[in-house]
């Protein structure tokens, strides 16, 4: 292993990458330069100026090595089986950095991640994990996990979301999206495993009628099948079926910390990416939020007759964060224009036509039913004190563990009420529907709460209800009588829950 350190200008980094690729991958320098300019430069250009790189070569990357033995080694053209890896730091690096224990301790916070360059020109960007802090335009809230890496024999961890470009032969956007999702879940939760390309190909054999490599892409059914095989209970949502609810569904799942597969198309182009987070909501966007069109006549009718205006936080316009193998990681774009950042204008009209949501197998109550059940409850139970009252709902999925952790530390909520809620029996996963108003939510506050059992498939009567706390009353299950009861409980303003996504 040859290690080159000390590269601290973006121009130097790109030059070294070009020279190393030409030497190690045995390709003409002009091809290496084209690949670097086409693929690596956009990423480096979007990074902060204080960036230092460490190059390691030859580097054994497990994902490329798997593709090499599964496909590239069988071709007549001679492919290198090793890669080059670039590791990034936000502090100066020299020959002594990785040999002094005290210096190593201090630079651990400066480690920003890595990019693997693989010999599949021009699609050279392989397995990549970069901390969002490394980018000039950060200020994002995203799903993230810690991924270990060793740089010059020293162990580090990078916090971020895995990303790769497709090599267009063993993996297209569809397979890359699946790989990225499993790399995230496999590193974050013990019940899942990261996958390699040959494992994905093997898994999809049963639902493929032609040869699988070179890959021609996958349809959503195949992608959903693969996720099911890897341990998820997936749900597919096609936009024309959900119309005004569609963006809200995306918002609710992402707010719950679930990265979702987004199918992007505009007639000619059909591309898959991941939506993994969002940007902050601004006051002007809250102000411009229109009333929710519920689409269930009896609920709409009940709200109209009571003069109650309903707003949905998840419909508020804001940028979401995409992991797109054609673009640098953490691409910001709106749900209505997810490919606006592409330099090729042909891509700008792409829309999200469908999403695949990788739910835990025990989550039986999905977002459409959960939200409408909550709206159903409000429409039947709540009578506003005055006409033109408003309720803004903010719905998201959460684990019991995460929610109670956040609740326990929410000093805005009265301690006695907190303790009552914390000792409510809750299932492993819950739907949280915070009830608020436009002015309250601008200060990140709510004044009501509905908690639904996400592991309950039945929405008969009060089956999924854990607690309904609004307007001075608590409706919940009394274990001593096995019945639903109403009790007086005043919930003052409390902080909305934002702990499912990590803010950078």
């Amino acid at each position: 292993m040859v290690i080159n350190k000390k590269y601290k200008s973006k121009v130097e980094i790109l030059e070294v990458a070009t020279n190393l690729m030409s030497a190690e991958f045995k390709c003409p320098e002009r091809f290496a330069k084209h690949a670097v300019d086409f693929r690596l430069k956009p990423i480096i250009d979007s990074m902060i100026s204080e960036i230092h790189a460490v190059f390691e070569t030859p580097y054994v990357d497990k994902v490329y090595r798997d593709s090499y033995y599964g496909y590239f080694s069988s071709k007549s053209q001679d492919y290198n089986r090793d890669c080059i890896r670039i590791s990034f730091f936000s502090c100066e690096i020299n020959d002594e950095t990785f040999r002094d224990a005290s210096i190593v301790e201090t630079i651990k916070n400066n480690y920003l991640g890595f990019i693997v360059l693989r010999p599949t020109l021009p699609n050279i960007i392989g397995r990549t994990v970069i901390n969002p802090k490394a980018f000039i335009d950060n200020n994002v809230s995203v799903c993230s996990t810690l991924i270990p890496a060793t740089v010059d024999s020293i162990k580090f961890n990078v916090e971020g979301f895995p990303w790769s470009s497709q090599d267009t032969e063993t993996i297209t956007c569809a397979e890359t999206t699946l790989w990225s999702l499993m790399e995230y879940f496999g590193n974050r939760y013990a019940e899942y495993r990261p996958i390699l390309p040959t494992k994905l190909i093997e898994t999809l054999k049963r639902v493929s009628t032609e040869r699988q490599v070179p890959s021609k892409g996958l349809n959503l059914q195949q992608m959903s099948f693969a996720l099911k095989e890897f341990g998820f209970g997936t749900r597919i949502y096609h936009k024309p079926q959900y119309l005004t609810d569609f963006n809200s569904l995306i918002g609710s799942y992402v707010e719950g910390g679930i990265p979702i597969i987004t199918a992007l198309e505009n007639g000619e182009i059909k591309h898959a990416s991941l939506c993994i987070g969002q940007c902050d909501v601004t006051d002007d966007k809250i102000d411009s939020l229109g009333e929710k069109v519920i689409g269930i006549n009896r609920i709409d009718g009940a709200f109209k007759s009571k003069g109650l205006k309903i707003y949905d936080y998840q419909e508020i316009e804001r940028d979401f964060i995409f992991i797109d193998d054609n673009r640098p990681p953490y691409e910001k774009a709106s749900r209505n224009a997810p490919t606006i950042g592409y330099p090729d204008a042909n891509w700008h009209s792409c829309q999200i036509s469908a999403i695949i949501v990788p739910l835990h197998t025990k989550i039986y109550l999905e977002a459409y039913e959960a939200k409408n059940y909550a709206l159903n409850l409000i429409s039947q139970i709540y009578t506003p004190a005055s006409p033109d009252e408003e309720i803004l709902i903010r719905a998201f999925l959460c684990s019991n563990r995460s929610y109670k952790h956040g609740l326990a530390l929410d000093s805005d909520m009265d301690i006695d009420i907190r303790n009552i809620l914390l000792e409510l029996s809750m299932p492993k996963f819950v739907w949280i529907i915070e009830l608020s108003t436009k002015s309250l939510v601008k200060n990140k506050k709510a004044n009501g709460l509905i908690i639904l059992d996400a592991t309950e498939a039945s929405t008969t009567y009060f089956d999924p209800l854990v607690a309904y706390i609004h307007n001075g009353e608590l409706i919940s299950f009394d274990p001593s009588t096995n019945d639903i009861v109403r009790n007086p409980l005043t919930l003052n303003e409390f902080s909305i829950f934002e702990n499912n996504l990590k803010k950078f």
Binding site: N219, L220, M223, A272
Partner: protein, 65 residues
Amino acid sequence: MAEQTLSKYEEFLLKLKDEGKSKAFNSEDDMKIINSINEISIEIKRTYEEKNIRSQEYASQVIFK
């Protein structure tokens, strides 16, 4: 026999019951509410199932690459 320990939630329910402030959800008005909730829930579920079937039909049609 050892006395069963109650959670703070159960203590809260017991206290309000003793004070006469707790109400079962079983008045005539409450039953109307419950029936409406149930009827609407059935409609929501049926609507969702139709949307889900159509979504799955689409899922087999388009290749993404």
